[in-house]
């Protein structure tokens, strides 16, 4: 009998499937190429690899936590089930008409993304619920039965039901399900009032359609995965990471697969939050930069910031509005087209542009020597001395600096009359500026000033750019954790069981109804707790209460957190003052004399966060002797500097060095600018701070 918990974290990404086995305080990881046709194969492969490393049997694994981009990819690639939408008569085209606007105003040939379901797959019923939940037109059972026959003939596998104002009254949606289940056995049905009970029909309908669209696929995948793991000896409970940063049961995941969208990046944010807890940091900016994109997330009080709606599958240069909105509880991040493979060019204004097009891994940046001729960020990093041509990715790829110079000269230098190095400097500065701008706008939208923040950098390209980004953002400290290459999978192992239930119900503070509030929040609480309880029969479950408030007449709500007591004994003055305090913090001042209203109510049930041992932080105790030196370009000084080079694995706790310096490891390279110094902390984190 193995008494040590052996937990397996599995992250299926676009290119790699990362597997991390945690045995006591030891971690074993493996990176396996994702096997698109049968994603479970890569998991099995990776599981055997880490079990071999740890010398345990697969049967010793006690728990598997899984996150995946499969749901996201299915939406992006439109690979889903044959799906129909059943909606209110008069509103057949809601998911197609979107916001009736163009997300790029100057492109005369703009193409809007096609809706997930074409018009012939959208059916209507004669019924209508009013804004207050009142029935304006009663739904007739016979109409549903007739519709069921049409749907049967057309042979749909999955059906989304989205009716107007169903967040306020779900009776009609439930009736539709009751009849369809009877008439169409085996067909999967998703209700908008369950998947996303929020006001705003476009977002809600799109979310329920997305859920229905990927449900058969995800259900079958999860079933196969569980079966395969059992065959391979891992007969333990499997849980799924959701987009909100918690974990849910495999059954819930199969019912609400749309909640799995963006679960990989959510794991990254949880990873960063856990490190924040280790260091007792209340204000953290997580910075995850890979080959194609960079993701930035604010983590306050060791909790990633969450949001109620986000956009998936952006079709136009990551532009806001060019994707499809999904309204589910989600960790709020900005994602921009800035990664190691992002390509640089010069536009009509002779401005250097970087991204969002990426060279990917094939052909890759010019320096990979695989036929890429355009300069990528990695090429600029190489020319600036940040990468070692002979020692990239543990020496597995030999980089061709001459090819990088050639590509930079052809596409940047010649046009702008810049030498190769300055061209590389320009490319690096533009990509860093793009990321800094994204971080600044995100901070402003959240009423935050980044100057008091600590950055936690992970992902293959982040440590190369983190130092410069800190300089640009005025961030004084940056942590680069070990295992940065498999951060999301480690994050899965740190996530609590959690589920957020929410509902749109309008209430003005001038019509404050304490009894109604208590009832509503209690209902939401028991719903959320039920989900978590199904994952863990004994753990303590903490409810977190949140309401979304705004001045009557405004269009943007702000989240206001309530304590359990404030939620269960609601008082109007307390709600008012909590709102005003948060509003003032966000926007600088309150607006007197305006009525305030609540639009959305949410309860997040969660098991307590894992116990984290605070580490004793070390100051720079001894300076490491440099093994070698090389010239790197320091953008803040706009000149070449002579930098020391050390291998990360040789740094001992408390040891450090002063920039400019380069710290190498197989997965990435950490650049320490001239303005910074570093020390290795007890947990292996490289702690980069302003020079003493």
């Amino acid at each position: 009998m193995n008494l040590i918990a052996a937990r397996l974290g599995v992250d299926i990404g676009g290119t790699f499937t990362d597997v991390v086995l945690e045995l006591g305080d030891k971690q074993y990881s493996a990176k396996v190429l994702t096997t698109y046709a049968a994603p479970e194969n890569a998991i099995i492969d990776g599981m055997h690899q880490v079990c071999a490393k740890a010398a345990i049997k697969t049967s010793a694994i006690t728990q598997i936590i899984h996150g995946t981009t499969l749901a996201t990819n299915a939406l992006i690639e439109r690979r889903g089930a044959k799906t129909a939408l059943v909606t209110t008569q008069g509103f057949r085209d809601v998911i197609e008409m979107r916001t009736e606007s163009r997300f790029e105003q100057y492109d005369l040939n703009l193409a809007l993304p096609e809706p997930l379901l074409p018009r012939q797959c959208r059916y209507v019923l004669n019924e209508r619920i009013g804004a207050k939940g009142d029935v304006l037109i009663a739904l007739q059972r016979a109409d549903i039965e007739a519709l069921a026959e049409e749907l049967r003939v057309a042979g749909y596998q999955s059906i989304a039901v989205g009716l107007i104002h169903s967040y306020a009254n779900d009776a009609h949606e439930k009736l539709v399900r009751e009849v369809l289940e009877k008439k169409l056995p085996g067909v999967m049905i998703s209700l908008s009032s369950e998947v996303s009970p929020q006001m705003r029909e476009y977002e809600r309908f799109n979310t329920v359609v997305a859920n229905a669209f990927i449900k058969p696929l995800m259900k079958s995948y999860l079933g196969r995965l569980a079966g395969q793991l059992k065959v391979e000896g891992a007969d333990c409970p499997i849980f799924l990471m959701h987009s909100g940063g918690g974990i849910i049961s495999i059954e819930n995941a199969a019912d609400f697969p749309v909640r799995l969208v963006e679960s990989g990046p959510a794991g990254g944010a949880v990873f960063a939050a856990n490190i924040a807890a280790r260091y007792g940091l209340d204000k953290v900016l997580s910075f995850d930069m890979g080959g194609t994109t960079a993701k930035i997330c604010l983590i306050k009080n060791q909790t990633p910031k969450t949001s109620r709606v986000f956009e998936v599958a952006r079709t136009y240069r990551f532009k806001k509005g060019s994707g499809m909105p999904i309204s589910i509880p989600v960790i709020d991040m900005v994602e921009i087209g800035a990664g190691g493979g992002s390509l640089a060019s010069v536009d009509a204004m002779r401005q250097i542009r970087v991204g969002p097009h990426s060279a990917g891994s094939e052909p890759g940046p010019a320096c990979y020597g695989r036929g890429g001729t355009k300069p990528a960020v990695t090429d600029a990093d190489l020319v600036l001395g940040r990468l070692d041509a002979d020692n990239f990715a543990g020496g597995s790829i030999k980089l061709d600096a001459a090819a990088s110079r050639g590509a930079l000269a052809t596409h940047i230098g010649t046009t702008l009359q810049l030498d190769d190095q300055t061209a590389a400097f320009g490319v690096a500065e533009v990509v860093d500026e793009n990321m800094a701008n994204a971080a600044r706008v995100h901070a402003v939208e959240n009423g935050e000033d980044l100057s008091g923040y600590t950055m936690i950098a992970f992902g293959g390209a982040a440590p190369l750019h983190a130092g410069r980004l800190c300089e640009k953002l005025g961030v004084a400290r940056c942590l680069v954790p070990p295992g940065a290459g498999v951060g999301s999978a480690i994050g899965f192992l740190r996530a609590p069981f959690s589920f957020e239930a929410n509902r749109s119900v309008y209430m003005r503070l001038s019509d404050f109804d304490a009894k109604k509030i208590t009832t509503l929040l209690s209902e939401l609480e028991s719903e959320a707790v039920r989900f978590v309880r199904s994952c863990d029969a004994t753990a303590a479950i903490l409810p977190e209460f949140k309401v979304y408030m705004r001045y009557s007449g405004q269009g943007w709500e702000i989240p206001v957190a309530l304590t359990a007591e404030q939620a269960m004994k609601p008082e109007v003055q307390v709600f008012q003052s909590l709102f005003e305090a948060d509003y003032e913090k966000l926007f600088g001042r309150v607006v007197s004399g305006m009525d305030v209203e609540i639009t959305v109510w949410a309860v997040n049930a969660t098991t307590p966060p894992q116990k984290v041992t605070r580490i004793a932080e070390r100051q720079l105790e001894s300076k490491m002797a440099m093994e070698a030196r090389r010239q790197i370009f320091d953008p803040a000084l706009a000149q070449q500097v002579d930098a020391g080079v050390v291998e990360r694995s040789l740094l001992k706790t408390g040891q450090g060095l002063v920039g400019p310096a380069v710290i190498t490891e197989d997965e990435t390279t950490i650049i320490v600018p001239s303005s910074r110094q570093i020390v290795r902390q007890d947990d292996g984190c490289i702690d980069m701070t302003l020079k003493a």
Binding site: S101, R102, N109, A131, V153, D419, T422, N437
Partner: protein, 568 residues
Amino acid sequence: MSNKSTVSNQVMWNRLISVVEEQAQALVRTAFSTSVREAGDLSAGVYDVKGRMLAQAVTGTPGHVNAMAESVGHFIRRIGSQNMFEGDVYITNDPWEGTGHLHDITVVTPSFHLGKHVGFFACTAHIVDIGGRGFGADANSVYEEGLYIPIMKFADRGEVDKTLVKIIRGNVREPDQLVGDVYALATCNQVGHRRLIDMMVEFKLVDLVDIAEFILENSRRATIERIAALPRQSASGSMTIDGYDTPIDLKVKVTIHADRIVCDFTGTSGLDKKGINVPLVYTKAYACYALKCAIAPEIPNNAASLAPFEVEAPVNSIVNAVHPAPVALRHVIGHFIPDTVYDALDKILPNTVPVEGAGCLCNFQVSLRPRTDAPAPKSAVRSEVLTFNSGGAGARPSSDGLNATAFPSGVMTMPIEATENAGPVIIWRKELRPDSGGAGKYRGGLGQFMEVGAVDGHEFDFQAMFDRVDHPARGRQGGAPGAATTIKRSDDEKMKGKGKQFVPHGRRVMLAFPGGAGFGSSKDRDPVLVKRDLARGYISAAVAVRDYGLKQTEVDAVLTAVRMGEAL
């Protein structure tokens, strides 16, 4: 200029564009008027001390493009540089020195760094009410359209002018909302200012002179390169639209010179008696927007990239209305300017620009009140609800027009669930209007149907702001026109396309918004697309046969496939 300063200038230009975007986002999040926060009817920009615009937020609507670019110059002239101090905030809603009607408030804030005046931030927002007769075309002069705020200080060295605030409060229907919006405008300039100063500190700048030159010179050069590559020709375009009581002719002559493009609106109809006249700033904004989209879409808006586009119009033509002409609904005419310009430009640059679409937004305002024909229930209330909606866009030379999507306006519609929560209105229908897109090789975008009623116990006035009732969008190169606007009551009572009209208890307004026109002959349309359109119900079986020559057997095959759930 050295190698390295080229790089820092590039970074700073990027930064300024991000700064004004932050400024615009701050406005969207703090504004009260639905037009700003839901529909995005706003703009924001940063200027040098001479009042030249250096960057403008992407968020916003084209109607403000040139107008706001010029506006800061008026503020400098009216207030005087010597009277500008740290902590000042300036304001106006002058239609001629702002952005075209009293409903747009422009706020300008000077930026000081190290005690020295270095630039300005400006922003504009469309507010829902400014007093007077309310938002509509019914005024006979601008005096009836609401409160006029000349260019003046809203705050002097940090001290808000309380008298002005009292006057504003006393003259409008929703004083809290309006004053809240003015503060939101001032706040958003402040957000931009803080970011600008951060940048100046980081790059050790004491003024914006060099970066301004860098931005303006590169933009000017890039824009002029584009213009120089065009044929030096001139061509005329025209369009006739409904107007208020009598049709209006819009006429333009577009001339391409070596380094500029001139749009001359000579020949356009004179002033209208009703408030649909357009100040020249707004005409410029939309003419310029149209040309930029076609010729230099990716060059950011600033003083230099806008300067080569020149617009002229005879004084007191409907596109150059001067004080005191009524101008509240200037958008109804203004939104047709791009299609008029394109009618001319197409003759110089064939196969580049879209054909005519719905043009102006299909907006309406509903004023609800307890029924007066019988005792009203106690729950009945008064309420004003404004909605923004779009017809179909015109077909492009290589693709269909966009369905129910605004062009040229950049505003968004609101969710009907949000609208119904805002007042006792019921939107019974809002969906695509089949067969409304003009037939062609590339089909015009579909318009939409709407049906509007009130919650039981209410009656309402319906303020219509529609065009294209008598003048649907015209096709090009053999493309068919789009469907016209129709409006009537549910009891078949006639209604007009413009103006306030009473709707009694229990009745609804039945609306069909116009479609865009087609491009090229419908006989040349790819049969695969015809079948797809039929399967989706964008076109009816009758139109598939009549306009696109589909055989009845093919129609039957498509409809059967749809019934059987086969993919097309």
